[in-house]
């Protein structure tokens, strides 16, 4: 039985069981506003009429059980899928607005300034760590090389720009503690370092919104703590808003300002970590409780609180 049915079945008296999106500061000046996002694959509705806001300067998280449609949301945001329906509005700090669903994927990174990482790491394995970060700065460097013509002639303008790019790469390598391994092939790095490198690579495109797909997957507790610190640093020092998908609740609850919970493509909860933690729908979805029992669980939670 789907959740929407339980929603329609809900009577006004049982209003508590309806999904209440907790209004929050993220609605005031969102970097990203998702409205009525729907993605169908044939008969399968992977994302169903989803709407949420990502607050500027927030760390927001999308959580949900496996197959809930989280990665699909990311793929729609970054242009890898064209959503069946919906509007995705990116508002930059400077006021520029971009409708992401209308842009080809590479322009979303280049112009709308949305960068992402992948659930299964996608580094350029045969290129060095430094080269990975240089590729990320392709667009500004391409301009500086006057679309290659200036670069072939070795103009000073290009060399200055290239040095600047190397400096930025060094800055991030220092941040993620990989400066010593700058000249090693990316595929030779240990797993945790590859994850950090992918984040640094995304940051080298100077995004305003950074989307991370399960950044803590496969990290040990120490690496996870470092990741939290890195994400805070990105938010605080670079003013980049972060949207992450994560299964690791310690990460999510610790660093997120705002959490959106998906289940079967629908939003079942939206609010602060505290709000979400106590939301009976979330508990039901995570514990695999049948929809009929939601009310029951809810009552239990309420009586427990009372």
């Amino acid at each position: 039985m789907s959740l929407s049915q339980s929603q329609t079945a809900a009577t006004p008296e049982a209003a508590t069981s309806e999904i209440v999106a907790q209004p929050g500061p993220w609605d005031d000046d969102p970097v990203l506003k998702v409205e009525h996002l729907t993605m169908r694959f044939g008969g399968l509705v992977a994302v169903d009429d989803l709407g949420f806001c990502v607050g500027r300067g927030d760390i927001s998280a999308i959580i949900g059980p496996n197959g809930a449609g989280k990665t699909t949301v990311f793929n729609c945001l970054t242009g890898f899928y064209k959503p069946t329906e919906g509007m995705l509005t990116m508002t930059q700090a400077g006021g520029g607005q971009y409708l992401l669903e209308r842009m080809p994927d590479f322009q979303i990174s280049a112009h709308a300034k949305v960068a992402r990482t992948f659930q299964n790491i996608r580094l350029f394995g045969g290129m060095t760590v430094l080269e990975n970060l240089m590729v990320a700065q392709h667009n500004p460097l391409m301009l500086a090389s006057y679309f290659t013509f200036g670069g072939i002639l070795g103009l000073k303008h290009f060399r200055t720009a290239e040095n600047g790019a190397v400096d930025r790469a060094k800055y991030w390598l220092e941040r993620i503690r990989l400066l010593e391994r700058a000249d090693d092939p990316a595929a030779d790095l240990p797993y945790g370092a590859q994850r950090r490198l992918e984040i640094a690579r995304a940051m080298c495109t100077e995004p305003e919104l950074l989307c991370l797909d399960e950044p803590a997957a496969g990290l040990n507790p120490r690496e996870t703590a470092e990741l939290n610190e890195l994400l805070r640093f990105i938010r605080d020092e670079h003013g980049t808003s972060v949207l992450l998908i994560e299964h690791d609740m310690t990460v999510v609850m610790e660093i997120s300002d705002h959490i959106i919970v998906l289940d079967y493509g629908q939003k079942i909860s939206d609010g602060t970590p505290d709000h979400v933690r106590n939301d009976p729908h979330v508990i039901a979805a995570y514990l695999g409780v049948e929809d009929e029992e939601v009310d029951e669980v809810e009552r239990e939670v309420e009586t427990g609180e009372a």
Binding site: N66, T78, G79, F80, D105, F106, Q107, I108, S109, A110, A115, R116, F118, Q119, N120, I121, R122, L123, F124, G125, G126, M127, T128, L130, E131, M134, V135, A136, Q137, H138, N139, L141, M142, S145, T148, G151, I152, V166, K170, L179, A182, D183, D184, P185, A187, D188, L189, P190, Y191, G192, Q194, R201, A202, T205, E214, A217, G218, L219, H247
Partner: protein, 458 residues
Amino acid sequence: MTSETAPDSAPENAAKHKPAPPQTRDLAASLKDAGLAALITFALAAPIMGLHTMSLPGGGGLAIVPNWASVFISVVVVFVGRLLLDLFVWRRVVQIPIGDKWFRRPGGMPFARHAHRLGGVAGPLLLGFTIIMPFLPFSDRYIMDLSILVLTYVMLGWGLNIVVGLAGLLDLGYVAFYAVGAYSYALLAQYFDLGFWVCLPLAGILAAFWGLLLGFPVLRLRGDYLAIVTLAFGEIIRIVLLNWYQFTGGPDGISGIPRPSFFGLEFSRGDDGFAAFFGLDYSPMHRIIFLYYLILILALITNFVTMRLRRLPVGRAWEALREDEIACRSLGINTTNTKLTAFAIGAMFGGFAGSFFATRQGFISPESFTFIESALILAIVVLGGLGSQIGVVIAAVVMIGGFEYFREFEQYRMLIFGLAMVVIMVWRPRGLIATREPSIALGKRKAISGDLVGEGHG
């Protein structure tokens, strides 16, 4: 889910950095192994090769003639060969998968691991040799013609290397651009009376233009589909040239293509010729030597531009595209344009080489631009090692030289060619030079093992 692969990939990475096991025990084992192989060879060779029968004259029956020298030689060959193979080829480190994407493949003979150093030393030596080559005593007409041919293929190989080796796009119709270059020059010369030096850049530009035209519809295809369409394109160009009789001369080809001049000086016997101007005795070799230097310079320009481009954003984007196209797009790289530039620049060098071919031959016909040429150029690139400049040179010398060498055995040429391909692909699946030189480094540039480098998907 990646979290499944994550925990087990960490220990594997740790294991990889462990020091190699001591070599001495392995050497003893290799010697033993080679000795055993030599023993078996002896057992087999002694009766088969060591003893010959010979019928005695006058019907006196058979006599046995011993031939121990050949037995000894084969035993030594087997022993040494087996030992070397065991030490350098078979004792390779078969690495374990890292993450869920990269697998380490066997391979890694010392020669290849030091290939970057080889490039550093052998490159200048080779260049020096090619420069003085025409004046060496053994350089007769035949050798010079052969060298020009080899250099043409080196240039074509370098051009195709941009497309296949750097950008990872499998192009089976590269000869089409070679044909476009050759016919551009021949037709421009025929219809507009233009000279070689004007037509050379035009031929390159036209070929690049054809590269773009082909690229637009085709580059959204990947892998096998791209290969098939480029192959078809190569054939289409050839068949159009063959059938458009009024314009291209069809199967008769175009003859009387003007020869290049040395800054306006013709290589002719007359008073205003090259020889007379410099006060030399006329010799047909002057033109050959001139052509030799011309193709050498063209090839070196190709190499220089490629090396330069590799260090520019566009070249890095090509290589990134070969590694992972989706990641490229997530970083804001317009992959279509990037592929198009690779295609167009590769095609341009093919066009230059084509117009050189036309001016050297003085006669061209569609027969020179068959699929086998594309296959040959691709074989040079793949055997040399995708993306390796010096590898292409070695492969071109071996293949074109080898082809010439086996000219007498016309029927077996393709057989041997195929066999050589199979052997090399088994022995060194990544080509002769399987390392990649980073395009930028903070410290010392360390060559990257070919096992880590992607091959591209289309």
